[in-house]
Structures are given as C-alpha cells and as structure tokens.
C-alpha cells in the first residue's frame, strides 16, 4: 500500500498531488519505503508533520546543530541523548534496536558501520536521496559509510593521520625539518634520544585504531568484508609484518615509549616534554592544545613520515557518521536530520569551529574560515589547511571487519601486550590473527585468512 502510494505520487502530475498526499496520509508519519525513491513531496510533507525524533550521540554541544535544524524545521522535535561513549553506546544501540524501541538517528564510528550493517539494523539511505550528496564529501570518507551498495551513514568527522611534533625539542636535537620518510624519522628519533631528555614519540599499546591507521598508510589491507558471509583477515601478512618490524626496532632501541594513552601519565608526558611528538589524527591538534596547554607555541604539524616520499599517503584514525535505524518510524525526518546537520554549510562548519571536528564535506574543507585558521599553539601554522591536504592522500579502499569490538579488545591482549612488554611484535600479530580467525569462524563467517 505504502509503496504504491508513493509511486502514484511520482507518476501523477501536480494536479493530483493532493490526492496522493491523502493516500500517503493513511499511515501518518510511519513512512518506511524500502525500495522506491521518496519524492520531494513526501519529504516536504514529512518535514511539515509534527514529529519527535530521538538522536543518540556523544558529540559534545551537538544541541547547537540540532537547534539550527529545529529552527529550519520547526515541526520536528529532536531529543538528543548521550547514552555513553564508544562501546557502551553501541551495546545500548544494539539492545534498543533489537527491542524495537531504539533511537531514530545514531552516531556510529566508521569502523562499526559494517557490524551494524551485518545485523541489518541500519536503514538504506539511498531512497531518500543520499546518492545526490555523495560528491560533496571526500571520496574515501564517503566510501566508509557505504556497504554492499547501500548508503548507510552520513559522514560527520574524520581523522586523517599526521605528525604533531615539538619544534623546540627537535631543534635542540639538531633536527630542523620534520622527518619526511620513516628512515628520517628513525634517525631523528635517535638524535632526540641522544641529545635530549625526551623520546620522539609514544606508541600506545592499547590504541588499536591508531596502529591500524599506520597499516592503512602503508597500504596494508588486513580486512575485507563482502557484506554477507565472508571476511578476509590478514593482520599478520608480510606487508603488515614489515611495518611492525620497523616499530619493533624503534621499541627495542627505546626510541619510542609504550605508555597507554589518554591516562594521567600520558597527559603528564605531553605536558612535561617527555614525548617530543605524537603521530595522530586530524582531530588531535585542537585536543592537544587543551591537553598540553603549558606547551603552547612549541608544537608544529606535518604529514606522517612516508614509506615512499613520491607517493604521499596517510591513514585514518577515528571520526564518525550519523545513521538511521531501521526501526525508526520517521525515517524521512531522521534522514533529513542526519543529512542536514552534516551537510548544510552552517551546521557543518559549526562542527569544525565549535566542536573542532575535522570535516568531511568538501565545502567545509575549503571554507576560508576553516583552512585559514592560524592557532597560536602551533606558532600560527595553518594546521587545518595541512590536514585538509593530508585527507586527500588517504587510501579509499580500506575496509573493516564486522566485529571490530572484539578485534580491538583482543588487540590489547595480543599485539598490544607484546608492545607493552617490548616483546615480539610479529608473534603478537600472529596471536591476534589466530584469535580473529577463531572468533570469525565461531561466529559462522567464512574466514579467509
């Protein structure tokens, strides 16, 4: 009934539009078209019907963007709820979605989209016109929200990897330019160790996403997922082992430390100059200026050191998107919310300037208000512009496993434990591989690995 009504709406001319709208009205608000495209009339109608949406996100101050949305669509009322961050959030989304009373719009990190896609909890946004905005985003980011030909999420922010470093410490070690290649980085690390009281950086053993970002940069493809039953797992491939052999050497020679990150110890390390740098994501520059405020003016930003300086590459660490749950009874309005706050210039730019997210929309990445920023923390360097350039070098073909929650927790006890103990990283990768394959097989996947 519902789909026929919408088809009629498209087929009939403007004169019969009212009739079609009346037909649509037989299921007020409960618009759930599955295959056909939703017409503009239907969208207009949905956006002018009094509707209550629930939006689960842990983005701070997102109420500002939501307020703008409610101003634009006064009939739509959005309730923003923060049910926890990361894994807590996902556990609750799953439970609520299974129970059929989940929120309408949810925040999802890119790495978890495929696991929700697998359990069929996300609505395909294609019928609502999501294809039309695909070209407005950086291609690799957009691809992260697409699974099996279905558009499942609208990108919000991302984290292409770069290198933040203490110019003063590197200088006192005799290094004037940021290391261009990983070989340069090792030479610089040795100099920092010999001539200063610092180390060039810290490689947190618990930061699976950061380590994967480094593999991503090196062009390693540890995971693939066909969206159905088969996964490929190759975390211990020769390419991955080559990258880790580099870090094995760095760790063995004590050129980097291996403290867990985002702990008191780690913050103190950043503030007291224990770490002369941080290989990190594009959301980090602003975060760092708050976390290590005492060191203002001493930091600079650069691209990651490269494996092949002629083919600059980067990986990604973090960032998230907004998706619509299949259980939502107001999918049109829910999609419009997810789209509008991340697509319309005003709220999207606000994410960059207020929440300090690293943008995904081209229009924001080119906005002079964003790229022209010259933070004093980095001595007036145009950090955003630098990272906007890095974002273009991220490999678009990276995929995730549909069970990254397990992958990350297990990372900590296999590979991470090897890093923390300054042990055999190659054996750590093997152990991680075995655990992932075992888990995947037990969960019924056809595992290639």
């Amino acid at each position: 009934m519902r789909t026929r009504a919408s088809r009629t709406a498209v087929a009939l001319g403007a004169g019969l539009l009212t009739t079609a709208l009346l037909l649509t009205g037989c299921t007020p608000g409960a618009s759930k078209p599955s295959t056909s495209t939703v017409s503009q009339a239907e969208i207009d109608k949905a956006m002018n019907t009094s509707t209550n949406l629930t939006f689960w996100t842990w983005v701070p101050k997102i109420q500002d963007q939501v307020d703008l949305f409610e101003k634009k669509y006064p009939k739509i009322h959005v309730k923003v709820e923060n049910v926890g961050q990361g894994l807590d959030h996902y556990a609750k989304v799953r439970t609520a979605s299974k129970a059929g009373n989940g929120p309408d719009v949810v925040q999802l990190e890119y790495q978890f989209i495929s696991s929700f896609a697998l359990s069929g909890e996300l609505a395909d946004l294609t019928p609502y016109g999501a294809k039309d905005i695909a070209n407005d985003y950086v291609p690799w980011v957009w691809k992260q929200g697409v699974a099996n030909g279905k558009i499942l999420a609208i990108p919000q922010d991302s984290g292409p990897l770069g290198n933040l470093y203490r110019e003063d410490i590197l200088k006192s070690a005799g290094i004037t330019d940021p290391p261009k290649t990983w070989d340069d980085y090792k030479v610089a690390a040795q100099a920092v160790k010999d001539k200063t009281n610092s180390v060039i950086g810290n490689m947190a053993p618990n930061q699976g996403a950061g380590w994967l970002g480094l593999l991503w940069q090196a062009g390693v493809k540890p995971f693939t997922y066909d969206g159905k039953k088969s996964v490929t797992i190759h975390v211990n491939s020769p390419e991955a082992k080559k990258v880790m052999a580099y870090w094995q050497d760095m760790i063995q020679k004590n050129l980097v430390t291996t403290d867990p990150d985002f702990t008191d110890e780690w913050y103190a390390g950043l503030n007291q100059g224990k770490y002369a740098g941080w290989l990190t994501a594009a959301w980090a520059p602003v975060f760092l200026s708050g976390a290590a405020a005492d060191t203002s003016g001493k930091w600079r930003a650069a691209p990651l050191p490269q494996w092949d300086p002629n083919k600059p590459a980067s990986g990604n660490w973090g960032g998230s998107a907004d998706a619509v749950l299949k259980t939502s009874k107001h999918q049109i309005a829910a999609y419009e919310l997810a789209k509008w706050i991340n697509h319309a210039q005003e709220p999207a730019l606000l994410f960059a300037t207020e929440q300090h997210f690293f943008p995904t929309a081209n229009s924001v990445l080119e906005d002079p208000k964003f790229v022209g920023d010259q933070p004093a923390f980095y001595g007036g360097q145009k950090v955003n512009e630098l990272f906007a350039g890095i974002s273009k070098t991220v490999d678009p073909d990276w995929q995730w496993l549909p069970f990254m929650e397990f992958a990350y927790t297990n990372f900590n006890e296999t590979f991470g434990a090897a890093v923390a103990a300054h042990g055999d990283l190659s054996a750590g990768l093997d152990a991680w591989q075995t655990a992932l394959v075992d888990y995947g097989t037990k969960q019924g996947f056809t595992v290639n690995g």
């Binding site: 867990p260 923390a420 037990k442």
Partner: protein, 295 residues
C-alpha cells in the same frame, strides 16, 4: 477450634511472605532459569540462533581464558583472603582489648575505606600506582630506585589484592568486633581468675567464641573473590594491556555478553562460575564444621 486458629495463623504467615516470594520468583528465579535456557543455544552473527545442548559448557572447559581466569581468582583467594581476614581479626582484637587509645576514632578510620565508593577507590589507587607521576613512583624515584610498574602484567593482580584488602578490612573487622562485643563478660572473669594473659584470652576464649562470625567472613570473602569485577573493569583504562578480557571469570562473562555479543556463552560461563562458587563455599563450610566436631 484451636485447629482453626492455627490454620488462620498459617494463612496469615503465608500472606506475609508472599510478596517476597513473588519478587524472588520474578527477579531471581525467572532470570536464572532464562539464562540457563540461553546457555543451551548459540547465536552466531551468521546463521543466527541454534540449539547446541552442552556445547557452550564443553567449550568453557577447554577455554584457556576461562581456566586462566579461574586460576587467577583461586590465587587471589589463597593469598588475599588470609591476609585480609588476619588483619581484620588483629584489628578487631586490638580494639576489643581496650588497650588502644582513641579506639573509636581508630575503628572509624579503619572502616572508612569501606564507605568510599568502589569506583573512587580504584581511581585513587590507580593514580597512586602510576609508574612515573604517581605517588609510589615518585617515592621510588626520590629514593633512586628503579621505577616499579605496579600496573604491569605480572604485578596487576597483587595491586588489585591491595585495593580489595584496603577496602574490606574495615568491613570484616566490624563483623568480628561486634561478635566480640557479645561475648558474655563472665567468661573473661573466669579466664582472669585462671590467670590467663591477654594473648591467651584472645586465643582460647575470644577467637573460639566468634568462630561463627569468622566463618561468615570467610564465606563472604570466598564468594567476593570469585566475583571480582569492579577493580579490573576500572583499572582497564590505566592498564589496558595487562587486564585481559578474561581476567576474572566474572569480568569475562561481562565481556563475552557485551563486547563479543556472545550472550549464550556468557550465560554458560556465569553458570559454571556459580557452580564453582557453590562448591568452594561448601568445601570451606564442610571443613570448618568437621574441625568443629573434632575439637
């Protein structure tokens, strides 16, 4: 006639306990039966739910994570419980002897950690344990000693023992102390007439008299050891690679259910853990009873 009154009384008694049984059945028996039911199934990401009979239980017996977790808690039990209860008994006796000055303030001070919320306690200790910037680290630094990593893979269990001891010594002390207070004074008089010293008094009169209170604290501690959850879960942030998913069986069950999405296996683990606790508690009780009969 008398019969009728008795029956009425019986009915009234049942009516009074009925609300409890309703809540008991709904909140304890039903979930227990349900999770028992769940433990015979498997819900795979691909393929969905299927009946697997005892497969989850068989898997647990071969699961190195689960077995290592059990071993870890057993080690915890053997080392931490005697230390904690020994200290608690010592403090209770010391306070009861009336020799310690300001015993009221002392009692309060020893009990105080129990009143500190577990989360705060773990965060506080986590800070103290910090390798370089924590208090202990700074002291070892100042003394020129090598920094001791209390959050490393090999030390973390002992660090947790320390936190648990710190928290529960006061609680156990209060249980023993109140038992000591209820010993009839004439026993002390008799012992004094016999010329018993304070030590002798403690050993031959006080401890045997509060035997049942001590056994109670032992049983509570045994159960508590197997159920350790807060400490690893909170220290995970600070020692992310030292605390594994299966650090303790209880923590493992949680991770299986909420991280690995394997609720069925988690239910099986929880049931096995329940059985282990029952068996160990029973053995402890049995051995104390036997000793009682022998003496």
């Amino acid at each position: 006639m008398a019969h009728g009154i008795k029956r009425k009384q019986h009915l009234a008694a049942y009516a009074f306990v009925l609300p409890f049984f309703v809540v008991f059945a709904a909140m304890l028996v039903a979930p227990l039966v349900y999770s028992g039911y769940l433990s015979f199934f498997a819900d795979r990401l691909i393929g969905g739910v299927s009946f697997v009979a005892f497969e989850n239980y068989l898997r647990a017996f071969q699961d190195p994570g689960f077995l290592a977790g059990l071993g870890r808690t057993a080690l915890f039990l053997v080392i931490q419980v005697p230390i904690m209860l020994g200290l608690a008994l010592f403090f209770a006796l010391a306070l009861d002897s009336g020799r310690a000055r300001g015993s009221r303030a002392l009692r309060l001070l020893i009990f105080l950690p129990y009143a500190v919320p577990g989360v705060v306690a773990v965060l506080m200790w986590g800070y103290l344990y910090g390798k370089q910037f924590g208090l202990i680290g700074q002291i070892t630094n100042a003394l020129g000693l090598a920094p001791l990593n209390l959050l490393s893979n090999s030390n973390i269990l002992f660090s947790i023992m320390n936190i648990v001891t710190w928290t529960y010594v006061g609680y156990n002390m209060i249980v023993m102390y109140s038992a000591l207070k209820s010993i009839p004074a004439d026993l002390y008089e008799a012992a004094e007439i016999d010329g018993a010293s304070q030590w002798r008094l403690a050993w031959s009169v006080k401890i045997p008299m509060i035997r049942s209170a001590i056994i109670l604290t032992v049983i509570f501690s045994v159960i508590g050891s197997f159920q350790i959850f807060n400490e690893p879960s909170l220290l995970l942030e600070l020692a992310p690679t030292a605390i594994t998913q299966s650090f303790t069986p209880n923590f493992y069950a949680y991770n299986l259910a909420f991280v690995n999405h394997d609720i069925n296996y988690a239910a099986a683990i929880a049931f096995l853990l329940g059985f282990v606790i029952m068996i160990v508690s029973y053995v402890v009780q049995l051995s104390t009873q036997r000793r009682e009969r022998l003496s």
